[in-house]
């Protein structure tokens, strides 16, 4: 009896309850607010686990809750629903697990913060929005929650609003993601116009028969929204700046959950996407390019959180690439030994599996970096050093996260990254091989910059006059739990290992009716491990023996080796400069032109009407003599004229009266 399926609506409702209660009633009682937030998200976590249990027990995919929110006849019906399928349940687990651990971590991290209540109520609001997003059964609901998570992101990046950088970063994040959301919104409107429904599954069913160009544009527009949210080039610029928010927020929103909303959206609509292979090729190339591009920037950054942010961008690019390359042959075509549908599902499996594992180890890396920042009071890796002996738990969990991210077996990232590379390889087109190469190159850079970070910040000697200490238990506990997940979460990706554990493999879980069994490619796995080891080796050679006097990024030995290229990397390929040029010289000029049009043409018309009215009033003023009897005379004359007119028009009228 699927009992918890019916209670699934409570999963987002609990954090919403917590948000409303803490904002309205308990804001002044910080401890109580903290407790309510943590308790509600733990409740959501428990319910999610039970829902997962029922799904593994054969619960199937279905809608379990529907609310007619705005019923507007047959034309437009807006509903809020809860849809449970393997994809949404997987997301539920990711979101509630990470959110719960981040809540616990924040107890310690925010202990001395004045605005703690505000922080926790925003976290609750975010958790509610994200859960509502993943449970959406229609596009409009998803769009609403999509915007809500954007607002939460804005509120939490600007949490330290008295700092100008933080406030600016919040605005930047909001406007850049809004630019992407415009695409998603247009997709929602088109979707209603062409299909008369917001339901994903109805659209998916009808989509294959559409030939109209606007409808064919639909996946591209959805992808535009996903690009903004998931930081794909060239809309990636907001994510590194978003690191101005508190570190738990970076871990929850800007690493594990909100930024993967774009991936989730594309994965949800994978069958719509796969019927337009051209769009999928776009998705794949933008993803692949972002993966490599962001990884290259991460190599030359000095701020620990920014390195992680670029790493997140790079991994998001990886996921997009997997989704894109899988669908790039089209549903109707056959690849080498695979049908197009198989390849699309392979891409979906690989992309979302990487999303799953990445959420854990990236949240771990962020939380551990938060612990380091908490102890060192600096973000600059060159001002750290030797933390290995001072902060054992933090550093070793960080190293586990690093190994997982670098793709060293048996850590989580290895399995998912391998699946992405395998998908690219099995697509077996020129594009597949190109992206396979891109993926390998990005994997090399990933392990290089992560171990550069580790060797610089954690090895060597402790700088003078700094006394780092291990963080408190509420902060180290989530680290340990996430580290454990980073070790084991990948195992379910391998069908045999999962079967040995008594679980369905991830591919089988995600698409139970799909009889494809993923093959494990030893050659590809070997290649990816080899490049990862090469990355570690290079990092070791360059940074392991770092002298104590290298205390700024200027001493980076890579600078001498790369020359001018290093400057480009350090300045993030000048994309921010490019955007600010575009904004200043193109966007603001267009805005000035619009302002001129508004001021002179639109306002001018209004002013003209007002002016004409005033003039007419002045001209007609003498008519109003103020003498009562003049008015009566006017009335009588008017009446006589009307009667005379009527008589002149139809003289019979008099005869009728007589």
């Amino acid at each position: 009896m699927p009992y918890f399926y019916e209670l699934a609506w409570l999963i987002p409702a609990l954090p919403l309850f917590s948000f409303v209660t803490t904002v309205l009633f308990t804001r002044r009682y910080k401890a109580l607010t903290t407790f309510i937030s943590c308790a509600s998200v733990t409740g959501s976590f428990y319910l999610s686990l039970r829902v997962l249990g029922e799904m593994l027990g054969g619960g199937g995919s279905r809608q379990t809750f529907e609310l007619d929110w705005i019923p507007l006849g047959h034309a437009l019906k807006v509903t809020l629903g809860v849809y449970l399928d393997p994809l949404s349940v997987m997301m539920l687990i990711v979101v509630t697990t990470v959110s719960m651990l981040v809540h616990i971590y924040s107890i310690g991290y925010m202990r001395h913060d004045e605005g703690k209540s505000r922080f926790f109520s925003f976290l609750s609001l975010f958790t509610f929005s994200m859960l509502g997003l993943v449970l959406s059964d229609n596009m409009l609901q998803m769009f609403i929650f999509w915007e809500l998570v954007g607002v939460c992101s804005y509120l939490l990046i600007g949490y330290y609003y008295e700092k100008k950088v933080a406030a600016d970063a919040a605005k930047k994040a909001f406007s850049v993601t809004r630019a992407g959301d415009l695409g998603f919104f247009m997709a929602v409107v088109i979707c209603w116009g062409y299909f008369g429904t917001f339901d994903f599954f109805v659209i998916q069913h009808q989509y294959g028969h559409t030939t109209e160009w606007l409808a064919r544009l639909f996946p591209f527009l959805i992808f535009f929204g996903a690009m903004g949210k998931s930081g794909q080039f060239p809309l990636h610029i907001w994510l590194p700046d978003a690191m101005e928010g508190p570190t738990p927020v970076s871990a929850l929103i800007h690493a594990a959950t909100m930024v993967v909303a774009g991936i989730f959206l594309v994965a949800r609509a994978i069958m719509i996407f796969a019927s337009t292979p051209d769009t999928m090729l776009w998705v794949a190339y933008i993803g692949g390019f972002t993966a490599l591009f962001a990884a290259s920037i991460a190599v030359a950054q000095h701020d620990i959180k920014r390195i992680l942010a670029y790493s997140t961008l790079s991994q998001l690019g990886y996921m997009m690439m997997a989704l894109g390359i899988g669908g790039s042959v089209g549903l109707m075509n056959d690849g080498h030994g695979h049908s197009g549908t198989d390849l699309a599902l392979m891409g979906q499996t690989a992309g979302t599996f990487h999303l799953f594992t990445h959420a854990f180890f990236k949240a771990l890396l962020f939380l551990a970096s938060g612990s380091v920042i908490h102890a060192m009071h600096t973000n600059n890796i060159w001002e750290m050093g030797g933390l290995r002996s001072k902060m054992k738990v933090t550093v070793w969990t960080f190293v586990i996260g690093t190994l997982a991210l670098a793709g060293i077996p048996p850590f989580a990232g290895f399995w998912s990254k391998d699946e992405i590379l395998a998908t690219a390889f099995e697509v077996a087109t020129v594009h597949g091989y190109v992206l396979f190469g891109t993926g390998l190159a990005a994997a090399f850079l990933t392990s290089f910059y992560m171990f550069r970070l580790c060797f610089v910040a954690f090895w060597g000697r402790v700088p003078e006059k700094v006394y780092p200490h291990e963080s408190e238990f509420s902060m180290t506990l989530p680290l340990v739990l996430l580290a454990a997940l980073s070790v084991v979460a990948g195992l379910i990706g391998h069908a045999d290992v999962a079967a040995w554990l008594g679980l369905p493999g991830y591919a089988q879980f995600l698409n139970p009716t799909w009889d494809h069994i993923p093959v494990f490619h030893y050659l590809i796995a070997g290649a990816s491990v080899a490049v990862a080891l090469l990355g570690i080796g290079s990092a070791y050679a360059l940074y392991a023996g770092r002298p104590v006097e290298w205390t700024t990024g200027a001493h980076d030995p890579l600078r001498a080796r790369l020359g001018r290229l290093y400057d480009h990397l350090e300045h993030k390929w000048y994309i921010d400069e490019l955007w600010s040029w575009i904004v200043n010289h193109v966007l603001f000029r267009m805005a000035a032109a619009c302002a001129w049009f508004d001021r002179h043409i639109v306002d001018g018309t209004v002013d003209l009407i007002a002016f004409a009215t005033t003039r007419a009033g002045i001209l007609l003023q003498p008519v109003q003599s103020g003498r009562l009897q003049n008015y009566i005379l006017a009335v009588v004359v008017g009446l006589i004229l009307v009667l005379a007119y009527l008589y002149a028009r139809t003289p019979q009228i008099l005869a009728q009266i007589m």
Binding site: Q624, S625, G626, R627, L628, Q629, I632, L633, V636
Partner: protein, 103 residues
Amino acid sequence: MDVGLYHYLVLGGVLFCIGLVGVMIRRSVIAMLIAVEILFNSINLIAVAFNRFVYPGQVTGQVFVVFIMTVAAAEAAVALAIVMSVYRNFRSVEVDGLTVLKK
């Protein structure tokens, strides 16, 4: 001589004209009010005449007359109150001087 509809209509028309001219040419507000009353009553006369000669079985015209009389009474009360107030302010009820609303 039989008195028919046309006699009433002519009388009503004459009364109406008297009232109208009175409203237009008299300068005293009181006199204008009286002229307005004549206007009302000319209409009343015509209404009952039509009722009597055109629709003898019905009371529509009479009902109208009753309503007009009621409204006229209320109007007279309000108008006289205004006249009182005007007199207090201007020490006059001559309509020529009452042009202050213009500016």
